[in-house]
């Protein structure tokens, strides 16, 4: 089926969507359905694999091939599928618990191997499906069902973790900014390698407002910074603030204080060192002098994909030895005959 003629509707299924009303997952689903007709992949070649969690219900609502698998293992299943069927467009849907707790190991390993798949991490900083325990991205001191005295766990910084695992594409977006989310989904798809897209997702039942400060009109301009390739790091209601780089440290400056845009840090997605600094702009928005939270593509680099090298080795082996011959294999080197 030619994809150009399809619309978002062609990617929805007859299954009743079972997320809580108001859940951020709805918006993410809508944006994925919107971009799918335009990515240039025949519908039958798109596969969505998820783990377990509210977010991992996703495949049931997408009219493509899909597997709702087991908790934490979507990345590993996707690895086997992509490695053996490189022509498929493989998307992984996972939650913060799914990908960073139970599936943490598989997450770092898929990143270092760099299979050409797209990871959409629905981060709501809570375990939604199991009804509200803290997650590995929940902030310290958080009161949840399992932490009535406050969480004593130090949270993960997902993007810093992904970069630390040598992820080749690192980006962040949010459920409440459809345009930006669509753009990031498209970029994820275009990247040849493992794309790691963290999506801030509101769980209005168990962790309502976790990202409010970044998503609400009132605070968004001052609390977020949208990264654009080749552009200076400017933010603020009046576009009056910026980030300068001072040695190895980012500094927030006021453009009315004698700084011009030329003094600011120019975003370069290909700069690994700058990407490290950007992922570390992760302090709590509730402390004095904190950084705005970056959104956009932090880092992109091209390096060989696992499945391509795997195939190359097979082709090289065939070129060198010829296609495997079963009779030769069974016969081996030394035989004897009994008459």
């Amino acid at each position: 089926m030619a994809t150009e003629t399809l619309t978002a509707k062609d990617f929805s299924t007859d299954q009743e969507v079972r997320w809580c009303p108001g859940c951020g997952d709805y918006s993410i689903l809508a944006q994925v359905q919107k971009i799918m007709p335009g990515i240039g992949v025949p519908k039958e070649n798109i596969v969505i694999i998820s783990g377990i969690g509210c977010s991992s219900r996703f495949p049931y609502y997408m009219n493509v091939y899909g597997m709702h698998s087991i908790h934490g293992r979507a990345t590993a299943i996707a690895t086997g599928l992509k490695a053996s069927r490189p022509e498929l467009s493989v998307w992984i849907v996972t939650g913060d618990g799914d990908s960073l707790s139970i599936g943490g190991n598989h997450t770092i390993h898929i990143l270092r191997r760099n299979l050409d798949v797209n990871i959409m991490l629905f981060n709501n900083q809570i375990y939604g499906l199991t009804k509200g325990q803290y997650s590995p991205t929940s902030e310290e001191h958080k009161i949840t069902k399992s932490t009535p005295y406050g969480s004593i766990d130090h949270p993960f910084n997902p993007l810093a973790l992904a970069l630390g695992a040598d992820g080749s594409f690192i980006a962040r977006s949010m459920d409440r900014d459809p345009k930006h989310l669509q753009a990031m989904l498209n970029r994820s798809h275009q990247h040849h390698g493992t794309s790691f897209l963290e999506i801030y997702q509101n769980c209005n039942i168990f962790n309502d407002g976790a990202f409010e400060i970044f998503t609400e009109k009132k605070s968004k301009p001052d609390e977020t910074i949208f990264l654009e390739q080749g552009k200076p790091l400017v933010f603020g209601t009046e576009n009056d603030k910026g980030i300068r780089i001072d040695g190895l440290k980012p500094v927030v400056v006021n453009l009315q204080d004698g700084f011009s845009k030329d003094d600011l840090w120019i975003h370069d997605e290909t700069d690994f060192y700058k990407a490290q600094v950007l992922t570390r702009m992760f302090d709590s928005p509730h402390i004095e002098g904190h950084f705005p939270r970056p959104f956009g593509v932090f880092y992109e680099t091209q390096r060989p994909c696992y499945e391509d090298i795997m195939l190359m080795q097979i082709e090289e082996a065939i070129a060198k030895k010829g296609k495997g011959n079963l009779d030769q294999l069974l016969r081996g080197k030394d035989i004897w005959e009994i008459a």
């Binding site: 698998s69 086997g80 599928l81």
Partner: protein, 615 residues
Amino acid sequence: MNTDETILKDVVIKFAGDSGDGMQFTGSQFTENTALMGIDLATFPDFPAEIRAPLGTVPGVSGFQLRFSSDPVYTPGDLCDVLVAMNAAALKVNLRGLKFGAKIIANKDGFDAKNLRLAKYADGVNPLEDGSLDGYEVIEMDVTRMTREALKEFSTLGTKEKDRAKNMFVLGFLYWMYNRKLENTIKFIQQKFKNKTDILESNLAVLKAGYHYGDTTETFTSRYKVEKAKLPPGKYRSIMGNQALVYGLIAASQKSGLPLFLGTYPITPASDILHELSKNKSFGIRTFQAEDEIAGISAAIGASYGGNLGVTSTSGPGLALKSEALGLAVMLEIPLIVIDVQRGGPSTGLPTKTEQSDLLQAYYGRNGECPLPVIASSTPSDCFYAVFEAVRIAVQHMTPVIFLSDGYIANGAEPWRFPQTDDLPEIEVHFQKKLPEGSDQFLPYLRDDKLVRNWVVPGTPGLEHRIGGLEKEDITGNVSYDTNNHQHMVKTRQAKVDYIAQSIPLQKLDSGPEKGKVLVLGWGSTYGAIKSASLDLQSEGHAVSHAHLRYLRPFPSNLGEILKNFDHVLIPEINNGQLIKIIRDQFLIDAHGYHKIMGIPITRTELVDEIRKWL
């Protein structure tokens, strides 16, 4: 000088020394040489779990037992005729495994004060001197000294490197003693050390020195010969269990047209499956060394979902990790081969020792009602055919299959009359490519008369659908929490596996009368011991029969009938009683068990004694 040649029927040799002494290498070279002579054989390598256990100590002893005979061989032998003991510890460990009067070839240098102390002999005691070996034929050889002597011209090699060739001296001597040619080993050494001339030359020199030592010393007046075995005519090679298993997988991949994908994590004694498959990329094989066993099976599931032959290989601890994903494969109803090369358990247990440890785990070790077929191989070469059959069942019945081997089979070797590709059956695979005539909705869980659903892989236009681990609605495959549907689906998945009994051969007796006093029922690596014990007792005129199960779940449909034909059913196992539980449960018979849980195979002799109790 004159030497007599004595014709022997059957010889059991044990090569034993430090794990650094190269006993596994010596044993396998002698095995290869024996096989090429057309003599029947069976081997039992037995090595410590540590790569370099403390030198000279009892736990550090590595052994390789080989039995060869002009008669058919089913086991590596209960007791040895010849022991090669490279040091005192090797003698200490193996003495009780010797026949009275056996030859002991002792490396004198390995019995010095230090080695005796390390082997924990009492102060001043040397078994070579204190008369404790009276009744054995002890041949003392100063292997170290003679090896160094043979290498005195090799100035580039240090003493340590020279001493490493000691095992070649012993091998050369044994080749002389059993009237063998050196060619296969010379060829092997030339290949192995082709880039290290001095090592190559020194090994050859010592091998030949060992051979000539037999020739020139006055001490040895007889040489031995074992005639060719009377095996069925044909072309033979020597094969090890894990190797046969890999060839079986490759053959099944070729015969089904499904590309093979292995997702796995290294673990003894299964790792050689990964090594061997990785070598054979020219068959289009993809091997994936995952971050853990869960990722291994998950990747294999992903590959199967994509239309490959997904395989994962492991041992007991790894199978435990794979349980949840196996449940997913049962729900998805896709083909998958899960290989468990069993070892002593529980936990890390005895990594290098054999045990039939995981039958119950394979049967029941998952959450929920989670039936799947279980198949076991019984000898090294049987792995080839049994795994081929496992693949057939997996793809034709759309189900994961657990394949059980064990350490003893995996590392054991035997002659194999290998098949030709054309003799192997095709494995028919069907992918659904489009909607059936007149229907406008794809129904992923629609079943055929064998209760099997269709395999539809991503990339097939118009059949996009979703599957997963949540309970499925019958036929549509939609998520369903309906109470009646769950009951129906649980029963259906069970019936689907039960139905496989119709596509497998009826159980046959391996030997013995159809009806009689005792049926010895076995599975897996006890095959050889049960076979020899049964044949022995039959030749004494006893009504003993032997049946050996390849299909453990479901059982062949006539198994119940067979069991009824005997007064007693004896089930020997290398575990604390696993098959016996299942047999008692399914057939309500008072089967007797015999359980040896020592990390070593059951012997023919002990089995004969055990069977006699029921005659």
